[in-house]
């Protein structure tokens, strides 16, 4: 105690002796300051660096707006921007068409087999979009795709009926893995609409379907829009699916153009200039989403105590079930069937013969040193990123919640900022800020771990902040009044009490990190390859068999982790809206 720093009391010099002991510098403050500094380093540095390089000439480093001119002066780049927006719009509309009826069926009707549908939607949710896209190449390749072959065999036609390398099918395949977002938002809102709202319409003479379209759906429109904006943003920033489908189809997409600036000759400054508007778009849409959801007018009005009775659909329940099954078949059952066929085949295009059956693909995957290392990398980096993100998010949420530092809002902003940074932009920012000296992290595991941590920091922060809010501050005050410091309160009471939700948060970072592609693509080095990047390479080489085997491996691991999560944390931890 004697060595503790005593800050001078301004304007109260006379009292210094008396009060000196009171104005001690809490040693824990150092930890808050370090956490804030780490956040600043991780989130602000890449963004600032990106902004600076977008304004620098490639060779001299002098100030210029030339990068913006070269980025937006090209017709093909403008076309890519337009395509990206159109692509995102199509995907959003298709996703809404898929998600809303299913959400209504699951949440408010007596549709059968709800848990099956929910499980399969979760399946679509945990499928990396690029893996689904590869499944769809196997299904809808112009001539060799299984759907087209079946079509030709049945009809005797010379051509298939569906072409994966087209804009519409690109959108469809993307939507199949994006619609769960809208589903989660919508069914969450539908679960909260009191049946009394519908009954009030019924008693006034409205039929069931009239009620759905005039009462129920309008009530949840803000939630649908909220989910739709997430899908739109996700799609604008999507890299994997376009890389697999749009690239061979020669459809120009913005994220692909950015990536191509990193092929020889590397023009990182132009890429930076081209990427900055992506942040602006994201920011604007997020603001709109907040405005829509922030009104909370509709659903919150129902308040507590509203009971929920399910609408009986009679024979129509089979129709809604049929539609749900159709959508989840397209998203999960068909592509995984095609992938399974490939994974167990010597050559995926050959028929279903015993001679074609093999386990070699799995064997190759597990025996080859490089492949094995890649798998280990993915899981260890993701695990580490989960820890870093949860630790930082918890500290930041704690500092903000307990108002330990001035400018708490700034910390929240820092933690939430990666939400508006598309993964590919974050990747470039990290590359620009940390790859070169003085930080010189290029090719290290650290840059990937930090990249993942930053990318998924908002998920971690939102969850940590929510669980801290749920904790009565008296739990912590009890520690302090008995003589424990803040740090002891965190270690002995807060962390043990929030164990489950912290583990859940960790999983919510870990799972997406294992398949993260768009950030990783810029940050991997020769010695730090991860699964997602390996899959992209395999797809470029056309090695779909090994790729499919790898996809199953990833899927199996993910399902295992999700199941453990269910066991430990309780159902629904993934399909919950937060």
């Amino acid at each position: 105690m004697s060595v503790e720093q005593v800050r001078p009391v301004q304007g109260a010099a006379l009292h210094r002796g008396r009060f000196g002991r009171l104005r001690r510098f809490e040693p824990a403050s150092l930890i808050w300051i370090l956490a804030a500094a780490a956040l600043l380093f991780l989130v602000a540095t890449p963004l600032v660096r990106l902004l600076i390089s977008s304004l620098q000439a490639t060779d001299s480093g002098a100030f210029t707006i030339g990068n913006y001119i070269s980025a937006y002066g090209h017709v093909r780049n403008l076309e890519a921007l337009g395509n990206s927006l159109l692509y995102a719009l199509e995907v959003t509309l298709m996703s809404a068409l898929m998600a809303v009826p299913i959400a209504w069926g699951v949440s408010r009707t007596d549709m059968p087999a709800k848990s099956l549908i929910r499980a399969l939607i979760l399946g679509a949710f945990i499928t990396p979009p690029y893996l689904g896209a590869i499944g769809w190449i196997l299904l809808a390749g112009p001539n060799a795709g299984w759907l087209n072959r079946a079509f030709m065999a049945i009809t005797g036609s010379q051509h298939g009926f569906i072409d994966i390398y087209s804009f519409t099918v690109l959108s469809l395949v993307t939507a199949l893995y994006a619609f769960p977002y809208i589903f989660v938002f919508t069914s969450d809102a539908l679960d909260r609409v009191s049946s009394e709202m519908e009954e009030a319409a019924n008693i006034l003479g409205a039929g069931s379907f009239y009620t759905v379209f005039h009462i129920t759906l309008p009530l949840v429109t803000p939630a649908i829009l909220g989910g739709a904006i997430v899908v739109f943003l996700d799609t604008v920033a999507l890299f994997g699916t376009p890389a697999i489908i749009a690239l061979p189809a020669r459809i120009r997409i913005m994220t692909l153009q950015i990536w191509q600036y990193f092929e020889f000759p590397v023009r990182a400054e132009v890429a930076a200039a081209y990427a900055i508007p992506l942040i602006a778009i994201t920011l604007a849409l997020f603001w709109i989403q907040r405005a829509i959801l922030g009104r909370r007018s509709y659903v919150a009005l129902t308040g507590k105590g509203g009971s929920r009775t399910l609408t009986p659909l009679g024979r129509w329940r089979w129709a809604i079930l049929g539609y749900s099954l159709f959508v989840v078949s397209l998203a999960v059952i068909l592509p995984y069937a095609a992938l399974a066929k490939a994974a167990f085949s010597k050559a995926w295009g050959l028929g279903f013969t015993l001679a074609n059956l093999t386990f070699t693909n799995f064997y190759t995957l597990l025996s080859e040193e490089g492949a094995r290392r890649t798998i280990v990398h993915s899981f260890t980096y993701s695990a580490a990123a989960g820890c870093v993100a949860v630790a930082l998010a918890l500290l930041a949420a704690y500092v903000v919640n307990r108002k330990l530092m001035p400018g708490g809002n700034l910390l929240t902003l820092l933690c939430m900022a990666p939400l508006v940074i598309p993964g590919i932009v974050l990747g470039i920012g990290f590359y620009a800020a940390f790859a070169a000296p003085p930080v010189a992290l290029y090719g290290t595991a650290a840059i990937l771990v930090l990249g993942y941590s930053t990318r998924f920091l908002p998920i971690a922060y939102v969850n940590c902040a929510a669980s801290l809010r749920s904790l009565n501050p008296e739990m912590e005050e009890a520690v302090r009044i008995l003589g424990g410091t803040r740090l002891r309160a965190i270690a002995r009471v807060i962390v043990p009490m929030l164990k489950k939700s912290l583990l859940g948060t960790w999983l919510l970072v870990f799972i997406p990190a294992t398949r993260e592609l768009s950030t990783a693509i810029f940050l991997v080095g020769a010695q730090t390859r991860v699964i997602s990047v390996m899959m992209l390479d395999l797809s470029e080489n056309g090695s779909f068999e090994i790729l499919a085997a790898l996809g199953f491996f990833l899927l199996g691991a993910t399902i295992l982790i999700v199941l453990i999560g269910y066991k430990v944390i309780g159902r629904d931890f993934m399909l919950r809206r937060s």
């Binding site: 009171l22 008995l482 424990g484």
Partner: protein, 365 residues
């Protein structure tokens, strides 16, 4: 825990203590001295500043004015505040704040561990304390397996086992059901009689404060209205607020005119009142408790000077007593009178109302 520990019980002084949030004065110029081993309640309606005061004493809130002194050492002032963990106090929270991740014994041992007390001593102390609060058999249970009353006892044990210099309680009984609340009041007082910790108890329930406290500090709008022993607070309230807040009362407004005190349509001789606290002239307000007025069919000759004719306007039978409302003849004043169940009168009866001047407390007008 006998004589040698009583020395540790601290004297606490609040002096001009204020706390202002966004220009709202939550606590305004509060001063009081709490003697070592004394049990003080801070009593008042919600928002009166009692919890803020307690949290300033605990060190969770820094005052914006005034000081808190413990055994002569300033521990809180606008210039700085000793953090809670350095105050050697302990506190019982409204939610109990029993840590669900630790067993009952671990909860109770927590403060001792922080004080680096060896394991054998810790175990002995925890055992003894759990026996004292009648939880000896539940030492290895987790809090989720306990009832509300048992959790309350864990909180008490955890707070007392460290032998705090000051024990703070923040509405500890408000989450219990009525019967248990009744029982725990006496339990808290019993434990104070065993350990004699200097105690500050925050409550909005006058019954709790009356049962547990040596003295009660009644607070309103951030200010101290009156601090006194429960009996004095009831019989000699000094402000309108205290008179109305502690028990039921009638406020009689009058004016001193020479040797008489004139009320609405009746008067009483000034000489029958105790002279202490009574102004020489001018307006005066008395607090008269309902059971300090008696009702009679007829005036007896001897006490005619302290009575007045009245009409019964309302009545309610409450089992333990009659609740009557009477108005002195010709007056609109409504007086609540409590009478024994055997004293049955009908609405409209004309009765003789007798005051007891010894039990009429003059309060600040």
């Amino acid at each position: 825990m006998s004589e040698q520990e009583t020395g540790k019980h601290s004297r606490l002084s609040l002096s001009g203590l204020s706390c202002t949030y966004n220009s709202v004065k939550a606590v305004d110029q509060l001063s009081m001295d709490i003697a070592p081993g004394e049990f003080i309640s801070l009593l008042g309606p919600s928002g009166c500043g009692k919890t803020t005061t307690l949290r300033m004493i605990a060190g969770f809130i820094r005052p914006t004015g005034g000081t808190i002194t413990m055994d002569g050492e300033v521990i809180s002032s606008p210039a700085g505040s000793l953090p809670p963990e350095k105050r050697q106090m302990s506190m019982i929270f409204q939610s109990y704040a029993i840590w669900p991740n630790m067993t009952v014994a671990e909860n109770v041992a927590f403060g001792l561990k922080l004080r680096h007390i060896d394991r054998a001593t810790t175990r002995a102390k925890v055992e003894k304390m759990l026996d004292t609060v009648k939880l000896g058999a539940l030492a290895d249970r987790y809090p989720a397996e306990l009832s509300g009353g048992q959790q309350q006892r864990v909180a008490l044990a955890r707070a007392m086992v460290i032998e705090p210099r000051v024990l703070l309680l923040d509405e500890p009984l408000s989450n219990l059901d009525a019967n248990l609340r009744e029982e725990m009041r006496f339990e808290i007082r019993r434990l104070h009689d065993v350990f004699h910790f200097t105690t500050v108890y925050v409550t909005h329930d006058q019954g709790e404060a009356m049962v547990t406290s040596d003295r009660i500090a009644v607070m309103n709008l951030g200010r101290l209205e009156q601090i006194d022993a429960p009996h004095a607070l009831y019989t000699r309230p000094r402000t309108r607020f205290v008179a109305g807040f502690i028990g039921r009362t009638n406020l009689l407004e009058g004016r001193i005119a020479g040797e008489r005190i004139a009320f609405d349509h009746f008067d009483l001789p000034r000489g029958v009142f105790p002279q202490e606290g009574l102004a020489a002239s001018g307006a005066v307000v008395f607090s008269v408790r309902p059971h300090c007025i008696s009702l009679h069919r007829d005036a007896s000759a001897s006490d005619q000077h302290i009575g007045v004719e009245a009409r019964l306007v309302e009545r309610a039978y409450l089992g333990e007593y009659w609740d009557y409302v009477v108005s002195p003849a010709g007056s609109d004043v409504r007086l609540k009178v409590a009478a024994a169940p055997s004293q049955v009168f009908e609405i409209g009866d004309t009765l003789w109302l007798k005051f007891d001047p010894q039990q009429m407390a003059p309060i600040e007008a």
